[in-house]
């Protein structure tokens, strides 16, 4: 299990390969990568991600451990950037390894849902004449309910 927080850009393919090469006998590897999108109106100059050093690493570690235990993953990986990011830059990625694909997919979705709403990162979008904090989407908070123990899965 590995979590990393860095300002530097990263190579998602190289990270995926490193993750997959660490695995022993996992049949399924899933990755998710988040990428800086331009605004609907166009004109995004860059994005700035603020985080809470210290708490961030602990939160990511806890989320990764939780995913590994819940879905009997062989391994989980979380990488998240902070600081200024250009449009089309990778923001973050997660990867999971499991015996079968169902657990690898569920584990990756779980990582993303918790990372979105429970890890201390905040995005700000900078255009040539404006700087706006991204608002949390209600859908992201709602996504957490599906992982509650009393929520019967489909």
């Amino acid at each position: 299990m590995q979590v990393r927080v860095q300002s530097e850009i990263f190579d998602m393919g190289a990270e995926l390969n490193r993750f997959a090469e660490r695995q022993v006998n996992a049949g399924a590897v899933v990755s998710f990568s988040g990428i800086v999108r331009d605004l609907a109106t166009g004109g995004l100059k860059f994005m700035v991600i603020e985080h809470y050093p210290g708490m961030t690493e602990k939160a990511l570690q806890a989320i990764a451990e939780d995913a590994v235990q819940r879905f009997q993953l062989y391994d989980a990986f979380i990488l998240h950037r902070y600081g200024p990011l250009a449009p089309s830059d990778p923001i973050m990625m997660v990867a999971t390894a499991a015996r079968h694909r169902g657990d690898a997919f569920a584990g990756a979705e779980f990582l993303m849902d918790f990372l979105k709403s429970r890890a201390p990162f905040w995005k700000k979008e900078i255009t040539s004449d404006d700087a706006t904090w991204v608002e949390a989407r209600e859908a992201d908070e709602d996504a957490l309910t599906r992982w509650k123990p009393d929520h019967s899965p489909d």
Partner: protein, 82 residues
């Protein structure tokens, strides 16, 4: 003394990222109420309690969480990572 930390637009409204603060507040909610009274910036930062998240010693807590023994309390908006 508690170390207070502020992030994102709460930090911008308060005007600082961290400060040491002396308080007798028993809970997070009491502390927020106290901070709101300090000046316009704090009042603005905490004007909508529903959009304030709080971590005590780097663990997310609810507003009724006790402050006894806390070394660091952080205030921030809902998180938007990923």
């Amino acid at each position: 003394m508690i170390e207070l930390r502020y992030f994102a637009w709460i930090r911008e409204r308060v005007g600082t990222g961290h400060e040491s603060y002396e308080t007798q507040a028993a809970t997070v909610a009491d502390l927020i109420e106290e901070l709101r009274g300090r000046d316009e910036g704090y009042a603005f930062a905490f004007s909508d309690p529903a959009s304030v998240r709080v971590a005590v010693d780097q663990e997310l807590v609810e507003p009724d969480a006790p402050l006894k023994g806390a070394r660091e309390v952080a205030f921030f908006p809902p998180m938007t990572g990923g």
